[in-house]
Amino acid sequence: MATTATINITSSDLMPGSSLNVSANTTLTKAGVTADLDQKESGVIKLVTGTEYRLGPLATEMSGDAHDISSYLYICNNTTEDATYYVDWGINETMIGRLYAGDWMFIPWNASDDAAEIELEPQGGTNIIEYCFFNSDFILPTAAS
């Protein structure tokens, strides 16, 4: 499953006399090797305010508690509402940033321990989130019965 990610960051008016044009490209691979990733999950979800949600698996759900597994996360807030609508994103109860309408992010996520889960907390109203999650070893949790 060869997946590539490319980013371009441009601006014509950020610095006088010098336009900004940054480009980077990477192939998503398993940790420490050049082998392609195996698994992918993507979708669109509605997040209602007042609740903190977990996106993606815990480390225990990836290859039998093997931490530091290569995982990549893309999130985009597809909400079209005003600036009072946004989603706080964080890891391990640490709020890191806010995704306003149209904002997106892409990170290689390190599930360094079970507490290092990806957390989303919508604000302002129902936010619509598009996400794509790539990793190598996601094991579904055992059913309760």
């Binding site: 060869a2 590539t4 980013i7 601006s11 014509s12 008016d13 990477t26 709020m95 992010m105 892409f106």
Partner: protein, 117 residues
């Protein structure tokens, strides 16, 4: 005020039978501090790349320019982002916690930029 336009493209011909090929872009108003793409050598010791007290809402770009060494990033305590060789990240940062960088070994070079909204 300046406009920053980040674009991400994800593509794969064999991830699923449904071809993965999409791009997402944004238009961000940048009104405060900017550090344009710069380079710094990391080490196995903590480097506070961006101090929370120095910024407000910002957008952060990180790229590992090394060919082998992994770089780790945390926001306070928990290891959160690991950039393998050649990998990049782009995300909104609310500057509630310091962004701290370390190298798994050696002194690899990190390319970074920050754009304060």
């Amino acid at each position: 005020m300046a406009t920053l336009i980040p674009t991400l493209t994800l593509s794969s011909s064999d991830a699923t039978t449904d071809l993965l090929n999409f791009s997402v872009t944004d238009s961000l108003n940048i009104t405060k501090a900017v550090i344009s793409p710069s380079k710094v050598a990391l080490s196995t010791g903590d480097l506070t790349l961006f101090a929370a007290a120095s910024y407000t809402k910002s957008y952060v770009y990180l790229k590992n320019t090394d060919e082998t060494i992994v770089m780790n990033f945390d926001f306070g305590s928990t290891l959160s982002i690991a950039l393998a060789a050649g990998e990049f990240a782009f995300f909104p940062w609310e500057s509630s916690q310091n962004l701290v960088a370390t190298a798994a070994s050696g002194t690899p070079f990190l390319e970074y930029a920050i754009f304060e909204a």
